[in-house]
């Protein structure tokens, strides 16, 4: 009897749940996208990740801005001039640009915001990206205290002048980068770290923040004070924090979300099936997966050993059998597609030459090769790749390599302290230029993490940074990259990433694939306006 009563109640409860679930998603939201994990911050001065950058760029607009195809277009600045030596940029601030509280955006806001990034106490994790500006590095490192010596200055409310210490062909692109975005400095001073909360946030971008529910979603709504508000078609956007790939794809397939932006939100195991869908879009992305060699390890000091290890890895097999997302086998650190930079020749799969080099180095058939480990942070894909590389080295060179997995913080610690032999790594470019990849391996750079130092490499990069001749610059970078991946082999490029997004092309407009995966929301719209 009790069981029957309970069964009745259960049926009643389930039916009411069913009725409740039949409701449509909140109709006030025009567009919902999956942004990956919970943003750590949306403060342009301190954010480091791409997912945080997406929100920041929806809220703040820089001197220049991204178009849907990833090109830079005028933003708060409507024009600029460059001096003949490529060192001085003068930006003219657009008339009628204002913050979301109605106050005008001026050149002084940019000066104050960039100064904030460079202030040592701000502890900006990405201040380095402003080091192209004259004296910026010295100011950030506390070597000078007078900010007037730094090469960025508001000449008046509408004119902002920047002086670089070396020509940087991509500087205009950098002005659209997250760290260069302006912030409402009075809010920062008033509220401290809490200035990014919805109740305090004042912004100048196409959207403003309505709500921020931790680990849930960020609600953005159209900013009525945005200078170009007529081009913004969505009144309300929700950015959902989801970091499980299976959940993401379930939500997309059942129509709970309109767009999956983060490639990590695509389950690798389902890739082969998902690639058959009409709404999956795969395109080149400015990022590379590679292995680092710790050259301070005695047996990895010899370039012949590193070269042999590189030659015996069949990268094509890795992208075809493991990653399966249309990735390209990598022979260089820089990904293809950087305009004006033809990739140099790298190392192809050549086991015969690999064995010869290994024998020359003193390890015929792998005999006597010391115990070596591949370090990687715990992830299914990383593990599969490590196992594959391990088996390739066993087969081609006859060596036994062990695998060592660590959780994220520990793995970073081991890399920073050179407590590894060979480590899995990746790098995402900040701007479309070889420098964003190659500069990491200059002697002493924090991201070098290999112990590798090469005088010719350093001087080639220095020379490239000083030249304004684009052809000569490309040749210098090519020569440097050849040293890095072919002659000295400090790193072993494995594959170039692809961007993977899900959206229905028939419905969503204003979305274009591009190398930097920049997809500004202010240009997106529903093709059927009734949606």
């Amino acid at each position: 009897m009790i069981v029957w009563k309970f069964a009745h109640i259960l049926v009643l409860v389930v039916s009411s749940f069913c009725l409740l679930s039949c409701q449509k998603r909140t109709h006030a939201v025009d567009f919902i996208f999956l942004n990956g994990a919970e943003p750590q911050t949306i403060d342009p001065a301190t954010l480091t990740g791409q997912l945080e950058g997406r929100i920041a760029k929806a809220l703040f607009e820089g001197l220049y801005n991204y178009s849907p195809d990833g090109k830079v277009v005028p933003g708060v600045a409507d024009s600029h001039t460059v001096s003949e030596d490529g060192l001085n940029y003068t930006f003219t601030i657009r008339q009628g640009v204002s913050w979301s509280n109605g106050e005008p955006v001026t050149a002084h806001d940019f000066e104050a915001s960039w100064r904030r990034v460079l202030e040592p106490l701000t502890a900006s994790k990405y201040a380095e990206i402003l080091y192209f500006i004259d004296q910026a590095e010295a100011y950030n490192k506390g070597e000078i205290n007078d900010f007037s010596l730094v090469g960025c200055k508001a000449l008046d409310a509408n004119t902002f002048q920047v002086r670089l210490h070396t020509p940087a062909a991509y500087f205009l692109e950098l002005t659209a980068f997250s760290t260069y975005l302006p912030v409402h400095i009075q809010s920062v001073e008033k509220y401290g770290d809490a200035w990014i909360k919805p109740q305090h946030l004042i912004c100048n971008g196409p959207f403003k923040m309505k709500n921020w529910f931790i680990n849930d979603k960020i609600e953005l709504e159209k900013n009525e004070h945005y200078w170009n508000k007529n081009t913004v078609r969505f009144n309300r956007i929700d950015a959902l924090a989801v970091n499980s790939a299976s959940t993401a794809i379930n939500m997309y397939l059942t129509g709970q979300v309109d767009l999956i932006l983060d490639k990590n939100l695509v389950p690798g195991m389902l890739m082969a099936d998902l690639r058959q869908r009409h709404d999956i879009h795969i395109y080149d992305y400015l990022a590379t997966f590679f292995l680092r060699f710790n050259v301070t390890r005695p047996h990895l000091k010899d370039p012949r050993v590193r070269k042999a290890l590189a030659l015996s890895v069949d990268k094509q097999e890795i992208v075809e059998r493991i990653t399966r997302g249309g990735e390209k086998a990598a022979h260089t650190l820089c990904p293809p597609g950087i305009p004006g930079y033809p990739l140099p020749e790298g190392l192809n799969h050549d086991p015969v030459q690999a064995r010869e080099l290994f024998a020359e180095a003193g390890y015929p058939d792998g005999k006597g090769f010391p115990r070596t480990e591949i370090l990687f942070n715990k992830s299914e894909l990383n593990e599969q790749i490590a196992v594959e590389v391990q088996s390739m080295w066993k087969k081609q060179l006859g060596i036994d390599v062990e695998l060592r997995t660590q959780e994220w913080a520990n793995y970073l610690y081991s890399m920073d302290h050179l407590d590894y032999d060979i480590a899995r790594s990746s790098w995402i470019g900040d701007y479309v230029d070889p420098n964003t990849f190659l500069d990491c391996f200059v002697t002493g750079r924090g991201n070098n993490r290999t112990g590798w130092s090469h005088k010719t490499y350093d001087s080639l990069l220095l020379e490239a940074s000083l030249t304004t001749d684009v052809n000569k610059r490309a040749i210098l970078f090519q020569q440097a990259e050849q040293i890095l991946v072919k002659e000295s082999v400090a790193v072993l490029p494995v594959y170039h990433y692809v961007g993977v997004v899900f959206y229905d092309k028939e419905r969503l407009g204003g979305f274009e694939p591009n190398l930097l995966a920049e997809h500004p929301f202010q240009h997106m719209y529903w093709k059927d306006s009734s949606q």
Binding site: Q40, T41, G142, N215, T247, M251, A409, L412, S426, G446
Partner: protein, 305 residues
């Protein structure tokens, strides 16, 4: 009773003190910086951040500073989520986990008691066999197996419930089913064994011989004693469910405590983990106390004070 409660309160304080201290020390001794990113931070920036959060200097000073703040009632700020205090994060996340945990507990205990009692009442019949088969299936299928199955069936195939998210009652159905259903299987096994033992007692035989109805015997005489082992189990179970399940919360995208705690450990987010541990410990101790009191209420022979 008052002295018992005071004694338990003091014991609880001591336990929390030890657990929180241990957590802090382990978190700080584990390799890896709370501010590490794939792009290496300049040492000066890292130092500034460590100073900002009072995590610089030697471990002893850090520990004292942490306890100083705790005594002032300050749980600190997340080192991962900028500008977010631990209290603020817990305030947003805990109610969601509590709600999910409460419904899951109701399902676990409700279904467990019913299924277990039903099996015991029909001992060695096909009904017992079916009930225990369900319980075995529940125990054998972990949440990470059940969750995709129910999502596939009820979320994607029939589209009855949303596959993930938070906000309406409907969003809770699948996670509660997975979490509650899983523990219901345990509870039913526990209830069945206990009920069988009680049903074998002489006072139950006496009650039956008096010609009382079977349901009356079960409800009036057997249930109170049979449910005692389940009551003991429900304390830690409640604490566990109330503080969120990482797998369920992650799978169904519920912005609760589960993922904050686990990711907090991975991110070396020392203050957030400390805050979560305090919440977990407090809930666990409170639930155990509640269970002890319930025990006394259910069985007058038990004396705690």
């Amino acid at each position: 009773m008052i002295s018992f409660l005071i004694q338990r309160f003091l014991q609880s304080i001591l336990v929390i003190l030890l657990v929180v201290s241990g957590t802090f020390l382990l978190m700080r001794l584990a390799p890896g910086s709370p501010f590490a990113t794939e792009r290496k931070l300049p040492p000066k920036v890292e130092q500034t951040l460590l100073e900002k959060y009072d995590l610089d200097g030697n471990l002893g000073n850090q520990f004292l500073s942490y306890w100083g703040n705790l005594l002032k009632g300050q749980l600190g700020y997340s080192t991962k989520f900028e500008g977010r205090s631990v209290v603020e994060i817990l305030k947003q996340a805990l109610p969601k986990s509590l709600l999910l945990g409460f419904f899951s507990l109701v399902v676990a205990l409700g279904l467990g008691i019913l299924l277990g009692s039903y099996a015991a009442m029909n001992h060695q019949s096909w009904r017992d066999w079916i009930a225990m088969f369900l319980a075995f299936a529940g125990i054998s299928l972990p949440v990470f197996v059940i969750a995709p199955l129910v999502v596939l069936l009820l979320g994607m195939q029939f589209r009855i419930f949303p596959v993930a998210g938070w906000g309406t009652l409907a969003h809770m159905f699948l996670p509660v089913l997975c979490l509650g259903g899983y523990y219901a299987a345990y509870c039913s096994r526990l209830m069945r064994a206990s009920m069988l033992e009680v049903l074998d007692k002489s006072y139950i035989r006496t009650a039956r011989s008096k010609g009382l109805r079977e349901l009356y015997v079960i409800y009036k005489h057997a249930f109170k004693n049979a449910v005692l082992p389940l009551v003991s189990y429900s304390g830690p179970l409640a604490a566990h469910l109330f503080t969120g399940s990482m797998i369920v919360e992650e799978f169904f995208k519920i912005p609760g405590m589960g993922s904050f705690f686990v990711n907090g450990v991975l991110n070396r987010d020392v203050f957030l983990v400390g805050g979560s541990v305090i919440v977990y410990c407090t809930l666990l101790l409170a639930m155990n106390l509640f269970v002890d009191l319930l025990y006394v209420a259910l069985d007058k022979r038990i004396k705690l004070w």
